[in-house]
Symmetry: C2
Subunit: 345 residues, 2 copies
């Protein structure tokens, strides 16, 4: 089945001209919505694929669901490192906080014919995936927020192991009342980190206490707000796994407001190892997520796919590692100090 | 003079075909280097300008000289805010630390035909400026590093006023030995901030002491290194204007290493007001540079230029403002505490 035949076939079946089908394929705006949908439906039904080798632009599309965080810069740097080597430019978009980008973004991508698409914390719905596949535009998800679906190429990190390592570090120091500030529960990475926390407690024979576990949204302000709740408990935790670095800094602020010293009165572990984790006072013990390397691996993967090279595996999780700094220490005369019954030594 | 006539004229003079001139105009790679240079030279000499209205792509080019810093994210967000409203996508590049992007970047821009170009801390040389002008691609410099040159549209901030305000704040608190960690001296913004510092001292009748003034590079590590030098002086400063926020955090680290408390033993003022300035301990007093707004104004300006609207002014400096937080306080029994002669009250 040659491309010309299929184009003509689809045009005939849709009752339009071949150039109109071509316009739809190229994401051109000058096709009526109803016609476009009919043609898209036929392209889908016939499993139409643009012949490999159709000229693509030396562009990589990079989409974030939000650009708020310093987190995003680590990813951009990784993509940029590989793109520059390969002579590709990056087209950057933000999906305004939605985890799936809108149709206007897809139309733009079809018109630009990029070499590939990188999605950060976002997924494409089935129809969007088919539209890209029909134009032979590969895509890879970086740090998938939800389950990206069978066969969708994705590069993540070992979030569960990271949550486990963070919590074990606190257990090893002697902490028993360990709080958790989780991320949004709709995100896979938050769930995996929280499950790692739970597994570590369980393996240490410590009962899971739902009162010590609260959801945040991965931003600084949530860390402060939820931190104030946790530190205001009648029997407050001596240590908190803060879910990510920004929440850890919010928790630092909550501790300062309450006059609690880190690590003497409260141990804190973050997640991400953003540059600022080294710079805060005290420097933050955290779980390093290799964001820049994840972005580099994903960029190489999407370029391989664009060249028709099938990577050995379409799902990679890069390892996390605990980085010990100065925000964690053994608890001071655990829990009894709260009641003021135990004198300072 | 119509476009066709000029193209033909230039082709005749260069001894090539009109399509070859067209290829050069569109940044196509398949023209011999010598031919390309001859044609570029003729385009320049004849002051050739592509007729306004030639179709441009709905892209904005955004170029950084480096993406290392969280600073860059504030700018990206501002550009993205306006680009999204206007239905434009952003093509992001990094010029690998050089303040002027290379020719391969220019070729890419000519091939992509963006609506406009935004340069951050970078300038274009004269030939690059003429290549863009010949294709009617406007550009605006955000926070010009050097003098962008007469008539070059640019959006900056009042760096001199900011340096003055930072230093005056410390003087008002009673400090007399005030150090400065400057940025790279090749950057206009560092020079302006340093001159503001000097002017404030001068107006307060305090002699400028070169020993208290050192150059950094706007990164965290320089703040720590230069901070250790300043704090190791026989008569150390009681306050330091750190040049930017990252250097201020480096200085925080230097102070921690020496067991000096902020603000009791050392007052610190930053510059930028990055999000992390609020999050560190103690929260940083700093000069707010409205990076996101600067990027928004620059983006609107380049879009206006692309539409043929001449903005009222081509040079805008947005105002800085001092944000007082907790890293500054009056000096404790100034200078005598250093010698240990003055007992604590």
């Amino acid at each position: 089945m040659t491309r010309a035949a299929t184009l003509a076939e689809i045009a005939r079946e849709a009752g339009v001209s071949a150039p109109t089908v071509s316009k739809v394929l190229n994401g051109r705006a000058d096709v009526a919505q109803a016609t476009r949908e009919r043609v898209e439906e036929l392209l889908r039904r016939h499993g139409y694929r643009r012949r490999r080798g159709t000229q693509s632009s030396p562009l990589l599309e990079l989409v974030f669901h939000e650009l708020e965080s310093v987190w995003a810069m680590e990813v951009i740097r990784g993509v940029e490192n590989v793109a520059r080597e390969e002579g590709l430019s990056i087209v950057l978009s933000e999906s305004s906080g939605r985890l799936t980008p809108g149709q206007s973004w897809v139309d733009g991508v079809l018109a630009r014919r990029p070499t590939g698409v990188l999605l950060v914390l976002s997924g494409l719905d089935r129809s969007q995936q088919e539209q890209l596949a029909g134009r032979d535009i590969p895509f890879v998800v970086i740090d998938p927020a939800g389950d990206p679906g069978q066969g969708v190429p994705a590069v993540g990190t070992t979030n569960w192991d990271g949550g486990l390592a963070a919590t074990r570090h606190l257990l090893d120091l002697g902490h028993r009342r360990i709080g958790l500030i989780g991320g949004p529960s709709r995100m896979m990475c938050s769930r995996a980190r929280a499950d790692g926390y739970r597994a570590a407690l369980d393996m240490a024979g410590i009962a899971y206490d739902p009162e010590l576990v609260r959801d945040g949204d991965f931003h600084h302000e949530a860390g402060r707000r939820v931190g104030l709740e946790l530190l205001g408990l009648p029997e407050r935790p001596t240590a908190v796994f803060a879910g990510n670095d920004l929440q850890a800094l919010g928790l630092y602020e909550a501790a300062r407001e309450l006059g609690l010293r880190i690590p003497e009165d409260l141990s804190v572990v973050g997640f991400d190892d953003l540059p600022l984790a080294r710079w805060v006072g005290p420097p933050l013990t955290t779980v390093r997520q290799p964001l820049t390397e994840m972005a580099e691996v994903a960029t190489r993967m999407v370029i391989d796919l664009a060249r028709g090279t099938r990577p050995g595996t379409l799902r990679v999780d890069l390892a996390t590692s605990l980085v010990q700094r100065s925000s964690t220490a053994p608890p001071q005369t655990p829990s009894r100090t709260v009641d003021g019954e135990s004198p300072r030594l």
